[in-house]
Structures are given as C-alpha cells and as structure tokens.
C-alpha cells in the first residue's frame, strides 16, 4: 500500500537503532549546540547528522525536506539582511537596498539552527518505520487506539490526495476555472475541497464499523505483530548521547562560573 512515510529499509546502522535512541539523538542534537553557544557545535552536529545519513544511504532523501524549509530560510536571510533595523555596518548595496552585516549574521544563526534541526530530524524520520514509532509509543503507555490513528494516517492521507487530481479534473470539465484573478481562485476552493470532505466522512463511518467488527474497542491486552529488536550498538549509542549531553551541561556551568575559558 502506498504510504507518505519517508522511511526506507536499508538494513543500515541507523535502521538497527531503536526509535527511542534516535529520538534521544534528536533532542541532544538540538539542545547541546544551544547549551554550548557559538557556531562550532552547530556545524559539528550538522556534519554528524549528514555523516550518519550518508552512512545509511538515505542522504538524497533529505532533498524534499531541505527544499521545503530552504525556501523559507532564503526569505529569512533576505528579510534580515536588508531590512533589519538598528545601527548597521554596510556590506554592499543593490539599488536602494543596503545589505547589513548585523542582519546577515543574525540570519546565519537562524539558518544554522534550522538546518541542524532538519538534519537531526531526518536521522530519525528517514530511518524509522512508522509502525515501530507507534510500537514504542504504545509500550510507553499511549493508548493502542491512538497508535492505530497514528499509523493509519500514513495510508489515509495518500488515499485522499490521490482523489484531489480526480476532483480537480472533474470540476474543470464542468467549466470551473482554477486560474485567473484572486476572486476566481477563491471561488474554486469550495467546490474542490467539499467532495474530499464528504468522501472522507463517508469513509469514516465505514471505517469505524469495520474496526468495531474486528474488536477494536476490546479491552483485552494488545500484542504486536512484529517485535522490533534493536542492534547491539543501541545501548552504547544511548549512553554516549547521555554522556555528551551531561558533559555539555557541565562544561557550560564551569564556563559560567569562570573555571574554564571558552575555546574559540
């Protein structure tokens, strides 16, 4: 069945780690650079995430994710570089616009932070099967019923988006315009979205009956179809991440107390 999940089974190092460990990596990779401060930790974690992704053979799958956020990042850089208020040092001029050093440096910080978040998230998202994520959540006490909702999403959304092109074509063949002035385009929205909504609600009724018939509301203990067995490196990785996190906290505390100087 078609799924929107970006997960790919490559039998790689990252595929073998438990979802929990990878989530811990995400948290550590986001928190440690913020705790330490400066730019170097961001570069280090971005490089580490990229290395991990490349090692698992999924680096090219990051393309779509980077493209989505990359577009916003470009606008952020432009806005901050040319329009940031306050005193500024001129870098260069394009017509009436002055590029400002302070704004550019500020936007660079945002870019680094966002790229770091994107890449460490990719480590988690591209190498973890949605059903394994769900299993982990259920093991940690989330209701299996919500777990079903989570996993089913990956299949229901592509089903619904497949309908969209059919609906667009059908409405166009009736003479509806989807291009032109803003008013025309706004008018086109309702005829496009309402069939999707009606369809999905009808499906909802059928799905809830189908689930009930199969004992979805049963209160007996649920078991798992496949049990995820993490690789031997899993616990080692987890300890290393925790040590890294504690070390960065300790380092920052010592630095604030003035015991050690920040090496820059």
């Amino acid at each position: 069945m078609k799924s929107i999940s970006l997960y790919e089974e490559k039998h790689s190092f990252l595929n073998g780690l438990s979802p929990e460990t990878k989530l811990l990596y995400v948290i550590v990779a986001i928190a440690v650079p913020v705790i330490l401060g400066g730019r170097i930790p961001f570069f280090a974690f971005i490089a580490m995430s990229i290395t991990l992704l490349a090692g698992s053979g999924v680096l090219r799958n990051t393309k779509t994710i980077v493209a989505v956020s990359g577009f916003i990042l470009i606008t952020v850089v432009i806005i901050q570089t040319f329009f940031r208020g306050g005193t500024f040092t001129e870098l260069f001029r394009i017509g009436p616009l002055v590029a400002r050093k302070e704004g550019f440096e500020y936007s660079l910080g945002i870019v680094l932070n966002v790229l770091n978040i994107i890449f460490c998230f990719c480590v988690f998202v591209l190498t973890t099967k949605p059903s394994d994520m769900m299993q982990e959540m259920v093991k940690h006490g989330i209701s299996p019923r919500l777990g079903y909702v989570f996993v089913s999403l990956f299949q229901i959304i592509p089903q619904m988006t497949e309908h969209t092109s059919t609906i667009t074509d059908a409405q166009r063949s009736r003479g509806m315009e989807t291009e032109g002035s803003l008013a025309t385009r706004i008018k086109a929205f309702l005829p496009l979205i309402s069939p999707v909504i009606m369809n999905s609600f009808t499906d909802t009724r059928e799905r809830s009956i189908a689930l009930e018939v199969r004992g979805f509301s049963s209160t007996s203990k649920k078991s798992f179809l496949e049990d995820f067995v993490p690789s031997s490196a899993d616990s080692g990785m987890r300890i290393a991440l925790i040590v890294l996190f504690c070390a960065s906290v300790a380092f920052t505390v010592l630095r604030v107390m003035g015991v050690i100087a920040w090496l820059r």
Binding site: I4, S5, L6, T64, I65, V68, S69, I72, T75, V76, Q80, F83, G85, G86, G103, S107, I110, V114, I117, I118, F121, C122, V125, P130, R145, L146, Y148, V149, F150, S152, L153, I156, I157, Q159, M160, T161, H163, T164, T178, L182, R185, I186, F189, L190, L192, I193, S194, V196, I197, S200, F201, D203, T204, R205, R207, S208, L211, E212, F216, S217
Partner: protein
C-alpha cells in the same frame, strides 16, 4: 449549526467514531493546504479539518487532530512544523469550546469564533516564530509588513502573524460552518447523540 450541548466538554468518551474522525480531519487539513497552494491563495487554509472535527466531536478531538496534523507534516515534509502543532491544538480547543456552547451558529458567532481562533493561533505562533525563524512567518504578505517594520522585535512579529492568521481563521471558520450545514444528519448524530445508556 450545532446547538448548545450539555455536559463537560473535556470529558468526552473517545468512541471509535471519534477516533476515526481524527485521520479524516488530518487528511482534510492536508488537502486544504494542497488546494490552497495549487490555487495560489494567499492563505493557508490548513485547519478546516481541525475546526470541523472540533465542531463535531468537541475540543479534545479537535486538539488531537490539530496536533497530529503537524506531527505528520513534521514526519513527512517539514520537521519544524511539528512545534506548530501546539498552535493547531489551540485552534481545535478554541473552536471546539465555542461550538460546544452553541456559539458557532449564526454569522456573528462564526466570525467571533474565527477571530478567537485567530488570536489563539497568534498568541501561540508568535513566540515560536521568534525562536525558530527570527520572527518571520514564511507568508509573503505578513513578511512584507515584517520587513517594513524593521524585521526585528516582538511587535513586528506579532503584526506579521496577525495579518496572516486572523483573515485565514475567519475564512476557515466560514468554510467550516458552510460545510457543517450540509453534512448528512446520520453523520452528525454519530457524534452528538445524547449519552443514553441502554443497559
């Protein structure tokens, strides 16, 4: 649309019907956003599903639909949008409560609900915009104003978000109310049947 309902809106039994409503609502959010970008509309229109499910099944289902929408965005397209799940959850709660108390009935009520949902969204999104994007929203109109206001500070970011969110949420609520009216009665009663036990 929905009449005033009795009972505690926070203590709703999670029936199977409410649970399967969540994926449907998320799908509607997803498709709404897809159509809005296909038609190149200046609005997001990505919370129709959240509002519909909140009207049908109350604030908790609305909040869950909203939160999970952004979790799914985060897992499939844009990792940072995960944190904006909080915004969507806030919208779900606001709309769910207004609908529960029968305010999403006539045009003034619908617009007030839209404004309220928009304000909730602004209050939650602006700090997130500040933390992750230095204050900009990624929407052309809002960001143009943000740039004109010196592209820094909380106020500029707040105005940036208000310009986009308030019209967006009002349009979403109008669409939601319109769609809700034409929903089959058999579907609506699935969620709004009085809790009468047959035992």
């Amino acid at each position: 649309m929905s009449d005033k309902r009795t009972g505690n809106p926070w203590k709703v039994k999670m029936s199977t019907a409410s649970l399967v409503l969540i994926p449907a609502a998320i799908g509607i959010n997803y498709v709404g956003k897809l159509f809005a970008s296909m038609l190149k509309l200046p609005l997001w229109l990505d919370s129709i599903g959240t509002c519909l499910s909140a009207c049908l099944a109350g604030p908790i289902v609305g909040a869950l639909s909203g939160l999970l929408t952004n979790v799914i965005y985060g897992l499939t397209m844009d990792p940072i949008s995960t944190v904006y799940g909080l915004t969507q959850a806030g919208i779900g709660i606001a709309v769910g409560l207004m609908a529960w108390y029968g305010k999403v009935n006539k045009l003034p009520g619908i617009i007030v609900t839209g404004l309220l949902a928009g304000l909730v969204a602004v209050c939650i999104s602006t700090p997130l915009n500040m933390i992750f994007w230095g204050g900009s929203t990624g929407n052309v109109w809002g960001d143009a104003v943000f740039a004109a206001m010196g592209s820094q500070g909380f106020l500029a970011s707040l105005v940036d978000e208000i310009i986009v969110d308030l019209p967006d949420k009002i349009v979403v609520l109008l669409l939601t109310a319109g769609i809700y009216k034409v929903l089959p009665k058999s579907l609506v009663t699935l969620y709004q049947a009085k809790d009468e036990s047959l035992d």
